[in-house]
């Protein structure tokens, strides 16, 4: 596994649209999303709940819950468009080429089956192998993630493990068929911080050692700063900013990104946080122009028109008229203006 080819694009998503029909109309939960993922790269997807980040993650595996559906776009894995695949072909992709881990490791395992059975199932769904071989591969995968006494623990049931250990087992399971892409949806949210640190370290090591492309869906900017290489910021179904992790934290160029950073208690300079006013718009009742405009302290007249993603510099793109005109966000002449709106639920 040492001579992995890094920096090769393994997954590219283009103009992906996933919609959910609701009583009040069809909602574009994922609205023309595009990005590329390279081998060994950890791409963070951040945003509020309802921003579409989880729907995007599920779309990649063809697991959009009905009645939601993908209506257009391309998901190119090694150049092949997954959206052209049949159900059976897509099933083969899941687990072998794209793997996924979830938020709650305890509830993500079947309570009635042993860990060993659940691990080997991941192998036997895709290959005709003997139970013995499947078992050996499962044990090997458990050693990759640092499980002590893997052969013995194979016989245990999920409730006999701690949450942190189960998340390790989950990662081991996702690695069994050596996928190219790992989608991790809030993988440490349900875990204690000391355990969280261990899991993050494990994911980072796997990306580096195995050239695994990781999509990390999270609301935690600390995690992003800690292990991500690039970041996509989502707001109301759209990408509002994409940049390297250093650019995003040093030079955020979308007002929403700025707002997110200002919301972090760790970055507070005074006794108050520079909180964004208001909340996310209802997806059934989106503003006609920029979707962030009603909450935006930088808003100008042109913001009533929908902005497009605009390349700023060196891989940083932003969906903001103001940033586009000024080549980045200008200093706000009157930050009090943004404060005035603070406190409106």
């Amino acid at each position: 596994m040492s001579d992995v080819e890094h920096d090769r694009t393994i997954l590219s998503v283009r103009n992906l649209v996933t919609v959910y029909p609701t009583r009040l109309g069809v909602v574009p939960a994922v609205d023309h999303i595009g990005f590329e993922l390279r081998a060994g790269e950890i791409l963070g997807i951040v945003g509020d709940s309802g921003s579409g980040k989880t729907t995007l993650a599920r779309s990649l595996l063809g697991l959009v819950a009905a009645p939601g559906r993908i209506v257009s776009g391309e998901i190119l894995l090694h150049g092949r468009d997954l959206l052209e695949f049949s159900g059976e072909e897509m099933r083969q992709v899941r687990g072998t080429e794209i793997a996924m881990i979830f938020q709650n490791p305890i509830r993500s395992f079947h309570p009635g089956f042993t860990i060993g059975r659940q691990l080997t199932e991941a192998v036997t769904r895709h290959e005709r192998v003997s139970r013995r071989d499947a078992r050996e591969r499962a044990i090997e995968a458990l050693t990759w993630v640092g499980m002590p006494e893997p052969a013995i623990r194979m016989k245990d049931h999920p409730h006999q493990f701690s949450g942190g250990m189960l998340q390790r087992v989950m990662i081991a399971m996702s690695l069994l068929n050596e996928p190219a892409v790992l989608v991790a949806d809030e993988p440490t949210t349900a875990l204690d911080v000391t355990i969280q640190a261990q899991i993050l370290e494990l994911i980072q090591r796997l990306a580096v050692d195995r050239g695994l492309g990781v999509i990390l869906v999270t609301h935690n900017l600390g995690m992003v700063a800690s292990i991500c290489d690039r970041v996509i910021v989502m707001y109301a179904g759209q990408i509002v900013e994409e940049a390297s992790v250093d650019q995003v934290f040093a030079n955020p160029s979308h007002p929403y990104t700025v707002g997110l950073l200002d919301s972090q208690p760790d970055r507070a300079t005074g006794t108050r946080l520079e909180a964004m006013a208001g909340g996310s718009p209802r997806m059934t009742d989106l503003p006609p122009g920029c979707r962030f405009e009603p909450r935006c302290a930088y808003a100008e007249t042109e913001c009533s028109q929908p902005p497009t993603l605009w390349p700023l510099s060196d891989g940083q793109t932003v969906r903001c008229w103001v940033s586009r005109r000024h080549g980045g966000l200008p200093d706000l002449p009157d930050r009090e203006a943004s404060r005035a709106g603070r406190g409106l639920g």
Partner: protein, 351 residues
């Protein structure tokens, strides 16, 4: 917000809003082959909360922080020890909530939606403490509108149902209800943890604003160390039912001393890639101990990176390190050296 008096521990205990003297909460587990175990959710805790002070409590799941919060607010009676409220010993009451009402203490939970009656309008839920006081209807509506205004919610919400509100609005409504009876103290148990970052920031600001305008104390309980630091004057770090360190949140120059607090802080990723890249994370290796089967001596010694043989034998006292800070560790202040030494492998020290 007013700072705690520096000599809070010494002669002025009568001034304290609340004092816990050797408070323990032990739950007995039924069944379980070995004749039933005892969960020591909170174990012999001494703690003082001064008027005007915000006390933060951090710790991982199962450390007893929620149980301690429930003892403070009066929803849980200690199985041992005393709770002293404004110099007066709190009576042991059987009826849940009786002590909380007597002392004018309130609690706000993580699950705001769950604490508001889904079948009743927001106004009704907020007015609940007022009805218990026997307030008359017109005055009550007036007061509810005032409370909505204080928590930054529009008047129109008074006739809406919880399901029609966003998560942030629900949490604001829960806070409005807690404020209704003009409480002396509100225990906020993970009160902002389930909110989106931007909403969380708004609610944190709101809490700070309210504390400036009203004589209310907070006990801010969370697993989110950044939020606790931001809110608190003093921070109690809990591990397996014990406070292992009490630190002055404003005095960041004096470094943390307990190995667990140091580890906990080093584990939390901060939203700054430059800091993250430089940082050496301390990763705990030992098995996680449980509150039913406590380790001997210092209860952190099984996971502690600098544990010594002494740690397995003797339990360290919570001793003062400065006027406002206290720590329970035999080797307080020696972490950096000992950790470096342990890493270099020059000492074989592990209890």
């Amino acid at each position: 917000m007013k700072r705690a008096a520096p000599d809070a521990d010494s002669g002025k205990q009568a001034m304290a809003l609340l004092r816990l003297d050797g408070v323990s909460v032990h739950f007995r587990l039924r069944g379980r082959g070995r004749g039933g175990g005892v969960v020591r959710a909170v174990d012999n805790v001494d703690l003082t909360i001064d008027e005007g002070e915000v006390l933060g409590i951090v710790g991982e799941s199962g450390c007893g922080k929620t149980t301690l919060g429930r003892v403070i607010v009066g929803l849980q009676s200690p199985t041992a020890g005393n709770v002293v409220v404004r110099g007066e010993k709190r009576p042991l009451r059987q009826r849940p909530g009786a002590n909380a009402r007597r002392d004018g203490f309130q609690m706000v939970y993580q699950d705001a939606a769950g604490s508001l009656n889904p079948w009743k309008r927001i106004g009704w839920s907020i007015a609940e403490p007022l009805r218990n006081e026997g307030m008359r209807k017109p005055a009550m509506r007036e007061r509810v509108l005032e409370l909505l205004d204080q928590v930054g919610l529009p008047d129109s919400l008074i006739d809406q149902y919880p399901g029609e509100l966003s998560g942030g609005q629900q949490q604001r409504a829960a806070i409005a209800r807690a404020l209704a009876g003009r409480p002396r103290l509100i225990v906020l148990d993970e009160a902002v943890s389930s909110l989106d970052m931007s909403t969380q920031a708004q609610v944190l600001n709101l809490l700070k604003d309210l504390a400036e305008r009203h004589p209310v104390n907070y006990v801010f309980i969370s697993h989110d160390i950044a939020a606790v630091d931001f809110m608190s004057d003093r921070v109690a770090v809990m591990y397996l039912g014990k406070i292992v360190e009490l630190e002055d949140a404003h005095d960041r120059k004096s470094p943390l001393v307990h190995p667990y607090s140091i580890t906990l802080r080093s584990a939390v990723p901060v939203p700054d890639p430059v800091v993250e890249r430089r940082r050496n994370r301390i990763v705990l290796t030992g098995p996680v101990a449980s509150a039913t089967d406590l380790p001997s001596g210092c209860r952190f010694h099984t996971r502690c990176p600098i544990a010594q043989p002494l740690c397995a034998d003797a339990e360290p006292e919570l001793a003062s390190t400065s006027e406002t800070s206290r720590v329970a560790c035999h080797f307080a202040g020696e972490f950096d050296d000992r950790y470096a030494a342990a890493r270099a492998g020059t000492t074989g020290g592990s209890g």
